[in-house]
């Protein structure tokens, strides 16, 4: 079946190409129209498989449209709109282009009905998001970006190896439910789980996301992990393993979140904790649980985006984001403070806020399945979320000790983006009906019962009492300038030896997957691999020559290009090269 409409992913990716050539208001309006156009397409496409192409004997499906994919499509386009609005005044085309391509690739992943187009968009997502991390153009962000891309390339290789084995076994590239059985399913599972930041494959997230710019982290927080959650719902619903990974994830990161000094790192750890709730839902796999996981992903994208926007506003206006350096900002940033509190109330699942109507579905699903231990862990984590994200983030940022900083609320577009997100959080919390109607299964669930509201409020408010008593008594762990070790220590500190092992392991996986690779993937991938690297270098060297760079300066530029992104080992998928080359071009020129 075909459609006369353009796939959203293509709208985003092709649409991004014009951005650097526009200026002023035209540019702003154009950028905002891209997600609007994609949203229009999503609203008007029929269900079923559309945008199918015959390619070397394989059937590519760029549009698998059903209730599950469409709701993720909606929320990703909505979040792109908010993110673009929030970043509207940023004078850096690299960020705009990378963000739009990143969003487009995410939509490509969500709508893909076959493994080849999925993998293609998967790699574009990994590479374009890396540019958002290194966009702050600091040494630390470049190093974090490099670690990020390396980890994701390894994940991508696992996925690719799994896909190849899967295609050999089933003789089709189309995919739907897979389930955990057989080596190929585990390889695919690892590939997806890494993007979902499932413990123990999570360390890249708190390592890299807080390195983004005030605006780029907003995009980062939404797309990679939640598209992986979508894929897990699609391919591995009911996998028991996910319940335990999820239960571990809601539990462990909150300790880190309590200790962290950098607000955006606190939010990164709470992001892990929230994904844990979704994974538990996916693992349980009943209709209620899966609905809960989808609804929670939907709400989570909004309130986590909102919280990262609030943190971004603070960073933008004060230049600081550590608990030890900020505080008392409510005095001059009242709106940001208010929106942050709305986001905090939503993530804490206060009644009348969005988290309440989504998280409670997952918790109720554990009750229905008589999972006492999981239930108690989730309740513990709920109290813990309120503690670190609900109270700590707004308290240390906007209240707490007065840092003496007198920064104002950010520009109108940033405030408006936060306002819209905050409104959506409250709207969903008060009127969950429209969201429930979008969910993949029919919803037979009422969130607002007396027992549930009172129980949840008791849990939260007495948790708050503990916070208040601990703060007043001085037992609360003080804010300290520090970092806390996580799993990334293994690949950051063991040093060169580990790097070598990693490098060889990478190549080994590469060889294994390549040896069993279908001919066309092999040929095309390596062709575009080299093409991308050479093209990037060719284009940039010529431009530098024209710009008058010679000898030493040219050498430095070339090295920087390599150090920043290429490292000569980017296995970029088919066609991805085109989009990537374009970001590269913008990167060179800005």
């Amino acid at each position: 079946m075909t459609s006369n409409m353009v796939p959203p992913a293509i709208i985003f990716i092709l649409g991004s190409f014009l951005i650097p050539f526009l200026k002023g208001k035209t540019k702003s309006i154009y950028m905002l129209l891209i997600p609007v156009a994609a949203f229009y397409v999503l609203m008007n496409i029929p269900q079923g498989n559309i945008w199918t192409f015959e390619f070397w004997g394989y059937n590519l499906i760029l549009g698998r449209i059903d209730k599950l994919s469409i709701i993720f499509g909606y929320i990703f386009t909505i979040m792109t709109f908010l993110g673009v609005l929030f970043a509207l005044k940023v004078k850096d085309d690299l960020q705009h282009v990378a963000a739009i391509i990143y969003a487009g690739a995410t939509l490509g992943v969500v709508l893909a009905g076959d493994f080849l187009s999925l993998y293609l968009f998967w790699e574009v997502m990994a590479v374009s998001s890396t540019f958002l991390i290194i966009a702050s153009r600091t040494r630390a962000s470049r190093q974090a970006g490099l670690r990020y891309i390396l980890v994701h390339l390894i994940g991508g290789l696992f996925l690719l190896a799994g896909i190849v084995l899967y295609i050999q076994k089933t003789e089709t590239i189309a995919f739907d439910y897979i389930g955990l059985s057989g080596i190929e399913s585990y390889l695919i599972f690892i590939g997806i789980a890494l993007n979902a930041a499932a413990i123990p494959l999570h360390a890249w997230l708190p390592d890299a996301y807080p390195m983004g710019t005030p605006t780029s982290t907003v995009f980062l927080s939404a797309f990679t992990t939640k598209s992986a959650v979508y894929l897990l719902i699609r391919t591995f619903p009911g996998a028991d393993l996910l319940i335990w990974i999820g239960a571990f994830m809601v539990f462990v990161p909150i300790f880190y979140a309590v200790l962290e000094n950098d607000i955006r790192r606190v939010l990164a750890y709470s992001l892990l904790n929230q994904i844990g709730f979704m994974l538990v839902g996916i693992g349980i796999g009943t209709q209620l649980a899966l609905n809960g996981a989808v609804a929670h992903a939907f709400c989570h994208i909004l309130y986590k985006g909102l919280l990262f926007m609030a943190a971004g506003s603070v960073l933008q206006m004060t230049g600081k984001i550590k608990c030890t350096e900020i505080g008392g900002l409510y005095k001059t940033m009242p709106l940001t403070c208010l929106f942050c509190i709305v986001g905090a109330a939503s993530i804490s699942a206060f009644p009348l806020f969005s988290g309440f109507v989504s998280k409670s579905m997952i918790v109720t699903a554990t009750v229905n399945e008589k999972m006492v231990l999981v239930y108690l862990i989730l309740q513990f984590a709920s109290a813990g979320v309120f503690h670190h994200a609900g109270i700590k983030v707004p308290f240390f940022t906007f209240f707490g000790h007065d840092s003496g900083i007198r920064a104002k609320d950010p520009s109108w577009n940033m405030t408006l983006a936060m306002g819209i997100a905050a409104f959506a959080c409250i709207f969903i919390g008060v009127f969950p009906g429209p969201l429930y109607n979008l969910l993949p299964f029919i919803v037979d669930y009422i969130p607002y019962t007396g027992a549930h509201v009172v129980g949840q409020l008791q849990l939260l408010m007495f948790g708050a009492l503990a916070f208040a008593l601990l703060i007043l008594s001085g037992y609360y762990p003080p804010e300290i300038k520090s970092i806390n070790l996580d799993v990334d220590w293994t690949y950051r500190k063991i040093g060169r030896g580990a790097y070598m092992v990693l490098d060889h392991g990478l190549n080994a996986i590469n060889r294994v997957s390549e040896s069993s690779l279908m001919t066309f993937v092999k040929g095309f991938a390596s062709f575009f691999n080299r093409a991308a690297a050479n093209l990037a270098l060719f284009v940039s060297v010529n431009i530098w020559l024209v710009l008058g760079y010679r000898d030493k300066r040219l050498e430095i530029k070339k090295n920087r290009l390599y150090n920043d992104i290429l490292q000569g080992t980017l296995p970029i998928g088919i066609g991805a090269a085109v989009a990537i080359s374009f970001i590269l071009l913008v990167f060179i020129l800005t």
Partner: protein
């Protein structure tokens, strides 16, 4: 700077806020006696279970986090050395 909020600079206001907070706790506790319960598990028949569980969850959280800090906390420049 036109205006600046400073309601929490006054200790009286902080005190008022805390009193409102404590009152809400009492109300929440009493409220449980007036609603139709639908306990998930047998232990939830106990009145105030959520309240106690929420309180001790947070105390445990802080207690364990303090222990964790002893193990994982390093100086900010740890990875640069």
């Amino acid at each position: 700077m036109k205006k600046e909020l400073s309601i929490f600079d006054n200790p009286k206001n902080v005190k008022k806020l805390l009193i409102i907070f404590y009152c809400s706790l009492v109300i929440l506790f009493i409220a449980e006696f007036f609603i139709v319960p639908h306990p998930a598990f047998s232990f939830e028949h106990v009145k105030g279970f959520s309240a106690v569980y929420g309180f001790f969850s947070c105390v445990m959280l802080i207690f364990l986090a303090k222990i964790l800090r002893l193990i994982v906390m390093k100086k900010e420049n740890y990875y640069d050395k």
